[in-house]
């Protein structure tokens, strides 16, 4: 991680902005001890590097165990006592936390850098208050391992090709918010509110014998690809990034007919904690342009701050407005999230027996 003159200048400029937002005037303050729940691997590494660049907050990093789902019952069990100042999450976990009213409302006064984050992506409660601070965006999309895939997949119909027997790694019902079925539905002329075409295609795909593995966790997918067991899949950014570290992959994010979905990763500030201001200040620092760029570089998710540069290795997530309209499908997340349970059950009864 080298410091170029340009990044140094931009950092000085940014710390000026940060300086206005944080009370760094007068004698140095002792760092506030905060507890944060983050994902392991590259994400917590990125956050540790970000935390090292400031000295107002000191962290006890608690890692998510297997997805964000394991922390939810812990919060519910301890409520109203809360052990975490912020919890990193995505649409899937934020939705439940907001519904349970566990998170603080974030205003522009709390986190001024919110102004640089696209409004549309922010998660709100029923009253329209912003409830989570997005920091980065990742993709959920089709792709394949360039060296081992039997042929170059370019459309959904290719998934049914006989040459792909046993070669597909398909996400299970706890992964990807079942957007894989939405992708199939789009192919069949439906969408998240009309899923029947998707279920029909899914049944056909299950019967075809082309699905080698159903990935139950992120690691399943990565291992399946790196061990060469399967070579074509639909999965979220962290897994693609993990595979890409060692193998050449083709990401079908800008492929007509194969929908790309975007999810946000961000911060949820918990209620009933004593250090709300310190937490918000850190979050504001973390989503500043250069910290966003740092996060993007280390964690592999594209920055949401409009002023941050997207690193070249994340070019597949940089869309011009025209590209965005053609390739990215933004589902109505209200529908998607409220249907999770029903879709999972339908998967179990209709699809799983066919595999």
């Amino acid at each position: 991680m080298t410091m170029t003159r340009r990044s140094l200048l931009s950092l000085i400029g940014a710390s000026g902005a940060v300086g206005l937002a944080s009370p760094l005037l007068g004698p140095a303050q002792a760092a506030t001890g905060l507890t944060a729940a983050e994902w392991g691997g590259d994400v917590v590494e990125a956050m540790k590097q970000i935390a090292a660049k400031q000295n107002l907050a000191q962290f006890n990093w608690v890692l998510h165990q297997g997805g964000a789902g394991a922390i939810l019952p812990k919060i519910k069990a301890a409520w109203p006592k809360v052990d975490y100042d912020y919890i990193a999450g995505w649409e899937g976990s934020f939705n439940s936390m907001i519904a349970e009213d566990w998170v603080e409302t974030i205003t522009a006064a709390d986190v001024p850098n919110l102004a640089d984050i696209p409004e549309k992506i922010m998660m709100r409660d029923a009253k329209g208050n912003v409830k989570a601070v997005p920091r980065a965006v990742g993709g959920i999309y089709f792709g394949y391992r360039t060296d081992t895939a039997p042929f170059a997949v370019t459309k959904i119909d290719d998934l049914f090709d006989k040459r792909l027997k046993g070669a597909i790694c398909w996400p299970g019902p706890t992964q990807s918010m079942m957007l894989q079925i939405v992708a199939l539905a789009l192919q069949g002329g439906g969408n998240e509110s009309n899923m029947e075409p998707g279920w029909k295609l899914m049944k056909d795909l299950a019967k075809s014998g082309n699905i080698g593995r159903i990935a139950v966790t992120d690691v399943d997918f990565t291992n399946s690809f790196t061990s060469g067991e399967t070579s074509v899949g639909f999965f979220a950014e962290p897994s693609w990034a993990a595979v890409a570290k060692n193998f050449k992959i083709t990401r079908l994010t800008k492929q007509a007919g194969m929908a790309t979905f975007l999810y946000q990763s961000g911060f949820a500030v918990m209620k009933n904690r004593p250090n709300r201001k310190a937490t918000c200040d850190f979050i504001n620092f973390a989503i500043s342009p250069e910290m966003s760029a740092l996060y993007a570089k280390v964690a592999g998710e594209a920055p949401l701050n409009g002023k941050a540069a997207i690193p070249p290795e994340l070019a597949h997530l940089a869309f011009t407005p025209k590209e965005f309209d053609s390739f990215v499908h933004v589902p109505d997340y209200k529908v998607v999230l409220s249907q999770q349970d029903a879709w999972a059950k339908r998967w179990e009864s209709d699809i799983a027996p066919l595999l």
Binding site: T35, W39, G40, G41, D42, V43, N60, V62, L63, H64, Q65, G66, A70, P73, K74, K76, A77, A78, K81, D83, Y84, D218, V219, F221, T222, N223, T226, S227, G228, P238, S239, A241, A242, V243, K245, N246
Partner: protein, 277 residues
Amino acid sequence: MNGRTKRLGDRILGGAMVAMLALMLAFLVTPLLVTCLLAFDSRSFLGPLPPPALSLRWFERLASLDYVATGLATSLKIALLATVIDVLVGTAAAVALDRGGFRGRGLLMAAFLSPLIVPAVVIGLALLLFLSRIGVIDGFTRLLCGHVVITLPYVVRTVLASLAGRDRRLTEAALVLGATERQAFWSVTLPLIRSGMVTGAVFAFAVSLDDVAVSMFLTDPSTYTLPVALVSSMRASFDLSIAAAAVLLMAVTAVLIIVLERFVGFDRLLGQGLFRS
């Protein structure tokens, strides 16, 4: 059937038995060998065997991760405590179940076995919700409760198994010869079930040390076990540190067994039952 065909039959079956045992042992040993290969795998991902090159990177990583030492200490403490509790409580319960003399014996035996049927994820969640409701929020206590629940059935069952197989007339003889109940238990019954207790203790320790599913619900920000720490450090990339940790554990076990065999003698530890070969 004359003698020669009988012995021939025996010889063939004996040969078949040896072949089957050899196959079984090979099957059992294969994953151990593969684990060793994985622990020294130079690749940073899970790839097909054999590894192209060997390296110590995973051991170095294990040594460098700051939460390994804390996690290991907690894991060992919990495993030891849980095992001790299990052996004491479980042996007492097994002895009581074996003695009988009260109604509902069968039901109680099933009850002691039932934690094994409930998936660990469910036990973890149920305990989390229950303990929080009664105000037990300390991570260590919660973990201990969870681990005792999932390991106790092993001890009860193995001790029951050895109790069931023993010759009761021995205890009876001791009583007839003038020993009190307590003396008869300590000097006759207990040595007979010693292997059951040791086996149960080994299972309990092993299950506690390896558990992830129950522990992940019961840890708190300051208390966590080693397997949970290792598993959560993987987000999407498979961290082969767990293979390195497994190899280290294998090495420690091997050393312990060699030491035990040399100084204490395995047979003395496990007991030889009534009939020494």
